[in-house]
């Protein structure tokens, strides 16, 4: 009754998010929907308090710490509501009434994070690339020593820029890693709070991961609604209320796949090879041009436009013929965006590069 995908249907999925997941994760997830761990029940209809599911949640929390190299001073929780809810939660939990927070404004999501924090209190934007349509990462700033915290966005999905290094910070360093977590080797212990919506490198939509040093919590002096209070979710071992059961299960499967493939170092190697293959073609091909400063290019979301915009429709048609999906650029940048998340095979990038080469031959 349940039919697999035939090879003729195989799509090269460059979607910016929700994005591509490993084939084996999809197979395992479908199996769990039908019969979870041979319980005779679907994962969709079992209690989150069952011992089988508690084991899933425990593993989903532990594996984040294993992969990121975080110690016992960090707690990991999964929440609903998306990374957008974290914009408010970060401020609720960390921003005091009489002090301020420091932010960088490097894209639409950073700007939204700033907007939500401003609803709660004072915010200083220490650096911005907004006036250049966010096409670079500002580096010429220092993190103030007296802020409650410093917030940055590691990768800007829409604009295709990525922070290659992070500033020294004497105050808690908070990072939205929604679109590049688990994609590259970093010293993750430099961050005090990392959050990421699952739907790019971690799993399907519906769960957001937060890894936080518990020592920075409990100091905002605010009355925090229980569901927005990190401490309450930590005390509840990420089960203060019913968690997003199936999305968290898929995150666990995806991170187990990362671990099996060799961890973040192996992902970085894969992603570097994919990104270099495509950026080399963007730079070589006479029809295309990248949209961002070269030193800030994202190795997750690669944005490029056509020098002659009138050829975009024909190129889009060529992509379609090659079964390439999700390459349309965000409306605020235009052109094309190739999101090459962990699960995307290099073969898909090669197909895209081949289409670009072929298109140059016929349309240059």
């Amino acid at each position: 009754m349940v039919k697999p995908i035939t090879m003729s249907q195989k799509v090269h999925n460059f979607s910016a998010g929700p994005g591509i997941l490993p084939d084996e994760v999809i197979q395992q997830a479908a199996q769990a929907v039908l019969n979870f761990n041979s319980t005779g029940l679907s994962l969709l209809e079992i209690s989150h308090r069952s011992k089988e599911y508690v084991a899933v949640m425990d593993e989903a929390r532990d594996i984040v710490k294993r992969l990121l190299g975080l110690g016992d001073d960090y707690d990991v929780i999964y929440l609903g509501g998306g990374a957008s809810l974290q914009f408010a939660m970060v401020a609720y939990n960390l921003l005091t009434v009489d002090n301020y927070a420091a932010y960088t404004n490097t894209g639409v999501w950073a700007k939204k994070a700033i907007k939500e924090a401003k609803m709660m209190g004072k915010v200083t934007v220490v650096a911005s690339s907004e006036d250049k349509n966010y096409n670079f990462i500002p580096k010429d700033y220092t993190v103030p020593n007296d802020a409650d915290y410093f917030h940055c966005t590691s990768n800007n999905t829409i604009y295709g820029t990525q922070m290659k290094a992070f500033p020294k910070s004497a105050v808690p360093l908070v990072c939205d890693m929604s679109s590049d977590i688990f994609s590259r080797v970093l010293d993750f212990t430099q961050f005090d709070l990392i959050y990421a919506g699952a739907q790019k490198n971690m799993g399907p939509a519906g769960a957001t991961m937060v890894a936080v040093k518990k020592s920075i919590l409990g100091k905002s002096g605010r009355i925090i609604p229980s569901m927005l209070d990190y401490n309450i979710h930590i005390e509840g071992e990420s089960m203060y209320n019913t968690p997003p059961v199936f999305p968290v299960y898929c995150v666990m499967l995806t991170l187990q796949w990362v671990e099996k493939m060799g961890g973040i170092a192996a992902m970085e190697k894969r992603n570097n090879a994919k990104a270099e293959l495509l950026y080399n073609e963007i730079d070589r091909n006479s029809l295309f041009v990248g949209t961002t400063a070269k030193e800030d290019r994202s190795y997750m979301n690669l944005c490029f436009v056509m020098k002659d915009e009138s050829k975009e429709e024909a190129f889009s048609q060529a992509l379609k013929v090659a079964n390439i999906s999700g390459l349309k650029g965000h409306r605020s940048v235009g052109g094309f965006r190739a999101s090459i998340y962990n699960a995307l095979p290099i073969e898909s990038v090669q197909v895209l590069v081949d289409v670009m080469k072929q298109f140059e031959q016929t349309h240059a």
Copy 2:
């Protein structure tokens, strides 16, 4: 590779939530995980802005209005975070700084809703059954005419009580229907705001449905974080940010199943037959006794204990042999709780009743 459940594994699922879903919904959900609508992509890895998924969200919103008989003065949205997040959102959106809200305290979830509202402002509890361990529904109260709103819980999952009628209210009537929505015929237009976590009668965990009369919004005078602002989600057509894609899809499938089966009237008929079959046995059987006032008995969560507590372990063993799952009562009531949500077939209740009869013969 993906294997279906064999008949010998078939479990009678009385879980209180996440709870049982229709077999055909589980089959369709598994199919969508493998290949969604023949797109060649998993539902877990497609953009929520794709036309295929926008159609899912539109249908998931529309079908709520069709089934509940709500007109264009209502909007339907799906949010993450669970019904627990609604406890804070209701207060954020409806409770003014200088007035108060009226609540009934009929169970643990009602009490939590009160706690969250009290963090925001003034609350008056107009009726409570807490001193009787919530074993009845208070009826001897009137809803104040000058409150910002009146909040009640239609069904108390833990204690097995259910409101059979709702008070007249001159102020907005807000109802947490998490555990009995779509289970019985009501005049749903008497409510101004209905919310329900999906994981009982609507689908898997990870999505919460809110149906709200837009005319009651925008009056609290508060600065509301965007993700907690109903108006923002309504304006975004429930896609202000990435929604819980797969859980909402499963909700759509489950509600389409309800519609196909004959709508809420058909569900009520099924549920009445199941509840009466089991309550009749609880009342007849010399070993068992119901825990709530008879006139307030829930037709979704049926709570009962053994007159001789020392027989509980043997009875639990008999349940296990019969492949009956999820019947353990909540720790605050003890004994047993049979959750007989829409998707539970009457055959499962009959199996349970047969076990109870058999147990009486051998253990009375």
